[in-house]
Amino acid sequence: MSFIDNIKFKTVFILAFMVSIGLSGSMFAQEADSAAQAVDTTATVGDTDTAVTADMDTAAAATGTDTTDTAASAGSVGATPTATSDAAGKPGINPQVYTNFFYYVLLFFLLCILVAVIGKILQVYELTRKMNGKDSTHYLNNIQAGLFIVALVTGLYGVYWSYVHHGAQSMREAATQHGVNLDIMFMVTTVICTIVLVLTHIALFGFAFRYRARENRKAYFYPHNNTIEKVWTIVPAIVLTILVLFGFFNWRAITNIPEEEQKNAIQIEVIGEQFMWTVRYAGRDGAIGERNYKLTTPLNGLGIDFNDKKSWDDQMGSEIVIPVNKPVRFQITSKDILHSFYIPDFRVQINAVPGMKTYFQFTPTITTEEMRDKLDDYSYNYVMLCAKICGANHFNMQKLVRVVTEEEYKEWLNEQPYFFTEDLRKEFQVTQVNEDTADAKLLAATN
């Protein structure tokens, strides 16, 4: 298995030559100096082996592999100046761009040579071992076994490290009632999973190390053991049953809310469209008016059906503001395509589906102010964001969420405008001539 073999040399050379021509097509057009420089440095590489390794040390930041041999690659690098002469630079792109790119490619090339050199050294080492009559096959096997122990130790430490650092960064306090329950379940699941993860990996990598091949050993013929297999079918089954039950009751508690409680909650509708959210408060009648997408006009962007009197007092929220410790029932839908109504702090998510209403009811427990105090971050805000791919601005489709006290909420809501504006009323009155006077009064009152 010799690295130096003529056919290989040739292919490597041709390959490298073609790559360099392709890359340098225009890169040196106006950069003859730096090209010369590049050739200079690489020329040294070709000259002495020590230079190669020296260069390589600095390049070791990135990683890559190949099995070219030193001579071949030196040859290929030497081929680059031939290419300098041809091709003019592409207009519009700064030639420096190509140069920089080429440096990275070169760096990678050098790295490949380093790998090849190491391969070579290993080969020589193996040869000497063989000549000294020492075993030359098992040592590689032992190295892999050792590496598994290294992987185990660093891996376990890595898991610990990310739990501590990234974990701390990612677990935020749930600001809703059901969120707290979910977090407990999350923690229980995490504890179970971590235990399993650690134990199985200790076994996996530990066995790999402990039972690495050795001469004169035979594996233990052990095709099955029904008892053990039953145990490790039943134990996971039990653990999973517990998790399922836990999850099932939580899920029902969140999604299966009695009619009565549904009615008592504050009703808010959130409608998604590319790439914004509109928030509709039910107004004093506590009921949200119907929509009909066919009624959409530039003025009536949501297509609210003002035949439905429930819609007359509906208010548009500039943001989502909800009172603390009061159940709120969100009714979510979409004007155009799928979106997802997602508030990470609340552990709340439900898709916005066109032509269909979805609901999520929850009770916030921590006001924005309190949360800021807790976090010691006075610019902190809850935010609702879109979690279902919806187009170019999917990454920036958000609405501020504020949890406030009851009084603040009322005060704020009073300032929010009605959907049924002056202009819309005119438009609407054209179509709706005979109106109940009581309704007219109601309208007057709301304004």
């Binding site: 592999t65 992987a151 790999a208 039972y211 155009d336 066109p354 032509g355 269909m356 979805t358 958000q398």
Partner: protein, 627 residues
């Protein structure tokens, strides 16, 4: 056209069986299962490299959202104006990356390669049941690849609604530019792809059922075959459902129907569609989509079983349990699709039901993991590169599978759905585990495919770079997801809470780049070993299965003379009493009297009697010698 079929008489298969073959019928329109396997493999590798390159492009964007990479403009033109990838194109990259990886690499590339290679070889058949369909299968796949890649050359860009192509986004071209021509090409490509899968699947199933060698009853089949067989069944039952989903979507897009569309006002335009439901598409898609993840995973599990057993020099622990858990997974995989839809507005009661079925499917998966561990225990483990990848596969299968317990729990999924937690989960359990299974297969069966060995040391380098790289890339993503960072986000710059993750993104991207460069070690190793690798011996790993009883040189019909006869299961490794640490399936019990166990005879009274007599005659003597 080659005239070789499975029924071809054996004596025609001399060393020079290819006399009436042109280049075209040998290398291009080949009907030989080994050549088709190579075609699938190399196409799969090319597609994998392409998809990996796409992922590096969008990883650059995620790590350095404000930085310019002018070199990108050189290659991508208007999609990376000023050296910054545009949001539309970002989504296109993500979509095509996901599509190619899941379907083209890990479905066709994985099953296509190893089902074609191993089903006839390990079962002792001369070729597939229908070599012609087999060839068609490859060419449909190849065309699908070309169509998919060609979508990069249309003006409005490739499909960009995510690999799940949920309508209405994918149905309404005004919603996103990728849903114009690009989406049409995506749908055409997938239709071709499904045709390929169905043709292949029928073939695999009928071959396994009908063309097993003498003595190869179902319970003597290697786990690879079990896995590939069950995978084909899953694919055959689920892919047609994707066809219907795709066809209805084509109708909605091109013929004005409203299967998935209703009540839409897109960009101020009221659309005429009424009465459809986007949820319908999700049901249809995931009815395939979930089984699909097992289509991706099960072959990898099968290959891993074989490689772990061979290289631990031990029988696979709990062979029957392994088969039953595969069967369990096969069946259960059809009734869990709803776990992708907990928060999509599906009836919440259904969500509860799907949670239960989902967590049940975790049981067979757990059994498999434990059985792998038990197989390693007290083995005599040889770390070939294939073995390393098999161990890596088990590691990913466990670490990725565990996070399934969170996502399968509908209550926890509320906060995790469509976040980076999901990205981390499926990249570990489906992405990395299957890719590792596939690579383990490539390293292990390379001598069978090409008659040469791959370079071991490069294989080691490849493994450690990829193994570390995959964990470094995907593990931190869990935490982003827990913090609530949604997936398919172009930049983390618009939300204060995401800013802390940008530095992590930089780290991930570097890890991804290093791991991607590490693949050069594989590519070099693979392609140069085809020509220049050390020549393989007939049975380089000391394996029991039938493919290693064929010659190194490929011939039509696989075995020059008669087909082999099978006498025993494939896992007689290190059997006590035998002088070698493996006994191929073709060795009759009469030749291994010193190692036979009562269990081996499956209640055959006559055989048991002969064995007893032999033992009476020989044991005492052996014991005497020992003293």
């Amino acid at each position: 056209m080659s005239s070789i079929t499975s029924a071809h008489p054996a004596d025609h298969h001399g060393e020079h069986g290819h006399h009436h073959e042109s280049f075209l019928s040998k290398y291009v329109f080949s009907q030989d299962h080994k050549m088709i396997a190579k075609q699938f493999l190399i196409t799969g590798i090319v597609m994998a490299v392409f998809a990996m390159f796409l992922s590096i492009l969008f990883r650059l964007q995620l790590a350095w959202p404000d930085k310019e990479f002018p070199i990108l403009e050189v290659f991508l033109g208007k999609w990376a104006e000023g050296g910054r990838i545009s949001p539309d194109f970002f989504l296109a990259l993500v979509t095509i990356h996901g599509t190619i990886m899941v379907f083209f690499v890990l479905t066709a590339g994985l099953s296509g390669t190893f089902a074609n290679l191993l089903i006839p070889y390990q079962l002792g058949a001369r070729d597939m049941a229908s070599p012609f369909m087999n060839m068609l299968s490859y060419w449909f796949f190849f065309t699908a690849c070309i169509v998919m890649i060609s979508s990069f050359f249309v003006e409005s860009g490739p499909a960009s609604a995510g690999w799940t192509v949920y309508p209405p986004l994918s149905a309404v071209p005004t919603a996103i530019s990728g849903s114009a021509m690009g989406m049409t090409l995506w749908l055409i490509s997938m239709t071709l792809f499904i045709a390929s899968q169905v043709l292949g699947g029928i073939n695999y199933i009928s071959t396994v059922l009908n063309m097993r060698a003498k003595g190869m009853d179902l319970w003597k089949m290697p786990l690879t075959i079990w896995a590939l067989f069950l995978t084909a069944i899953v694919g055959l039952l689920s892919f047609p459902v994707l066809v219907s989903a795709v066809v209805l979507l084509i109708f909605d897009r091109s013929f004005g129907t409203s299967f998935y569309l209703s009540d839409l006002v897109v960009q101020g335009q009221i659309l005429p569609n009424e009465g459809g439901s986007p949820i319908l598409f999700q049901h249809l898609f995931w009815f395939l989509g979930h089984p699909e993840v097992y289509i991706v995973l099960m072959p990898a599990l099968g290959l891993t079983s074989e490689v772990i057993s061979t290289n631990s020099r031990k029988p696979i622990f709990g062979y029957h349990a392994m088969v039953y858990s595969l069967i369990g997974i096969t069946i259960l995989s059809f009734i869990v699709w709803g776990h992708h839809m907990f928060v999509t507005g599906m009836n919440p009661f259904l969500g509860g039901v799907f949670m239960i079925t989902t967590l049940i499917i975790a049981v067979p998966s757990a059994v498999k993991s434990f059985n792998y561990l038990a197989t390693l225990w007290r083995g005599n483990i040889r770390f070939t590169p294939a073995m390393l990848f098999a161990i890596g596969m088990v590691s990913f299968f466990i670490s990725g599978g565990l996070t399934g317990l969170y996502l399968g729990n509908s209550a926890l999924d509320i906060a995790l759905h469509d976040t980076y937690f999901v990205v981390a989960h499926f990249h570990l359990v489906m992405g990395s585990a299957s890719i590792f299974g596939m690579l383990c297969g490539v390293y292990h069966w390379f001598p069978k495919l090409f008659g040469r060995m791959m370079n071991e040391k490069l294989g080691y380098l490849h493994f450690w770079l990829t193994f570390a790289g995959a964990y470094l890339v995907f593990f931190p993503m869990h935490f982003m997801g827990i913090d609530g960072v949604p997936r398919r986000y172009y930049a983390f710059t618009e939300f204060p809470f995401m800013e802390k993750w940008i530095s992590v993104n930089v780290f991930i991207t570097w890890a991804a780049i290093i791991a991607a460069l590490g693949q050069v070690a594989f590519l070099w190793n693979f392609f140069s070993s085809i020509r220049f690798g050390k020549r393989a011996t007939q049975n380089p790993w000391g394996s029991n299965t039938l493919e290693w009883t064929t010659g190194v040189k490929h011939i039509h019909g696989n075995w020059p003379g008669e087909l082999p006869t099978v006498y025993r299961w494939p896992y007689d490794y290190s059997k006590p009493g035998h002088h070698e640490d493996f006994i191929p399936q073709t060795v009759p019990f009469s030749e291994t009297m010193s190692s036979n166990l009562p269990h081996d005879f499956e209640g055959n009274v006559e055989a048991e009697r002969i064995q007893r007599e032999w033992e009476l005659a020989n044991r005492p003597q052996a014991e005497k010698e020992a003293e």
